[in-house]
Amino acid sequence: MAFNLSCKLDAPGQAVSAGSLGVGFGCHLALPDALYTADVLDFVEITPEIYHRAEQFEGGVQLLPERSTFDAARTRCGNLPVTMHSVSLSIGTAHGMFEPCLAMMDRLRTEWSFRWYSEHLQFQTTLDESGESAETGVPFPLPATVEVSELIAERAASIQRRYGVPFLLENPAHYLPDLPADPEIGDEFGLMERILALSGCGQLLDLHNLYCNSINFGLDPVTALGRINLGRVVEIHIAGGSWRDGFYMDAHDGEVPEAVWNLLEETLCRAPGIGGVVFEILDLHLEQLGPDGVARELERARTIWRRHHPKAEAHA
């Protein structure tokens, strides 16, 4: 592969410059406006696909803005800073990323300023027998190989250049401990580390995903956290989950478990340069937690954040 590895590898622990935002939350239009003020949160994380509809044309798929919800989301965010977190890029698909996602991001870049852009380190399409892209139905984690690290690093670096803001990769939750791996990469931790070192991009450290994988693969979450190069982490996700068939799932269905709060405390203590923490919950489960429950989770995250960012608190 014609990709210059040496320049990036020279500075493997260098943090991506992204600025410090604080505690963020997704844009849930079902929740009251009152939650989306600087009194409650510091920034909003937008999953752009929610405000776009996919349409099939002869040449493929286009993601077109659903104007009413897109405009409502923009109004909802007001003057709060925004980050973008897409879910359809499939950055790990060998035959190519999902180009309509990039086209959507290209358009967004011109009309909605965002501080950084993140995606998941996974794939959700393969090629079928006729050479057409076929969906896998659920996202799959990537083999920890040299080839994968170089492919993803090249793509991630190009995305970071394309949008002129930090590009972050999120560690995924999954249930497959026995994926193929090259000895020099080792495992998913080694894969992420290698990609970030090669690309100069940052990590979105999803602590709930880390917690899920630790439980399901029999690891100690704090030991797993020790495998992360925190100097590369720009953003953290926290969320709730639930058990099914003996597996702990990244269900985004409620309150953050105590163990994940502890991991957040531990992470921010060791890496105060991290730019933001986002609490995630699916729309489907909002009613159960309620606006007050959401506000409680955000307040708890902010309390921990401020403990490690006294300057930001004084500024606020």
Binding site: V61, Q124, T126, A134, G137, V138, F140, E147
Partner: protein, 220 residues
């Protein structure tokens, strides 16, 4: 040496379609659970696509969803694409005539008209451009009761008796709400495309709404 990413993904994709051995141990608990989650996601996408229609079928649509997913349905990442596929599947399985099939066809027609609305431009009626045909994103769907009654009855969980088709609904990208009830004259025009026998103002109105359009190639 590990196999290439392309080979790994190709093999995984074929295994997911039941056509090859899996590159991940298919007997592992983790893989089996991943398949359970995958199945659940596929079923949920299908149910979201047609919740109201499925409620009108004998077992709440469970067997239809199972059949669809068993044959590789429910995989689309985007709900709009999945909805289109599942509605197409349902339209070939629902009893004809039935309220469920009428609502399925309405859902398909509405999605089609919405898709057209992003590219639709009313024609310049000052320039006559040859033969007139059905709009490329238009449809006429028959209901067996007035639409308001059908919707209210769906919410209440019981439908009116199935009589003859009684209410025609037009769908087109230029109609402000994308659909409206059709008049008798419009139904006749839709069925026959006898343009020369219809009032010119009606034809013009239907062209502006995209219910009708000039044939793209202009030939007879």
């Amino acid at each position: 040496m590990t196999e290439s990413l392309a080979a790994f993904q190709s093999r995984l994709g074929r295994a997911l379609r039941g056509q090859a051995t899996c590159p991940i141990n298919p007997d592992s608990q983790g893989y089996r659970f991943t398949m359970t989650v995958r199945r659940s996601w596929c079923e949920q996408r299908s149910i979201i696509a047609a919740r109201a229609i499925l409620k009108l079928t004998p077992d709440g649509g469970k067997s239809l969803v199972q059949e669809y997913v068993d044959h590789g349905g429910g995989l689309a990442w985007f709900q709009a694409i999945e909805s289109e596929k599942f509605l197409s599947f349902l339209s070939s399985r629902l009893p004809d005539p039935s309220h469920a099939l009428a609502i399925c066809r309405m859902s398909q027609a509405l999605a089609h008209a919405r898709r057209g609305s992003s590219i639709f431009k009313p024609p310049d009626l000052r320039v006559a451009r040859g033969p007139i045909v059905h709009g490329s994103h238009a449809a006429l769907v028959w209901l067996y009761s007035d639409p308001g009654t059908v919707m209210a009855a769906m919410n209440a969980g019981h439908l009116p008796p199935l009589g003859p088709p009684s209410h025609a609904v037009l769908f087109a990208p230029g109609i402000p709400a994308l659909f409206r009830e059709a008049t008798e004259l419009e139904v006749m025009l839709w069925n026959t495309l006898a343009i020369t026998e219809a009032p010119p103002t009606l034809v013009d109105d239907l062209l502006r709404e995209g219910v009708l359009m000039y044939r793209p190639d202009g030939s007879c």
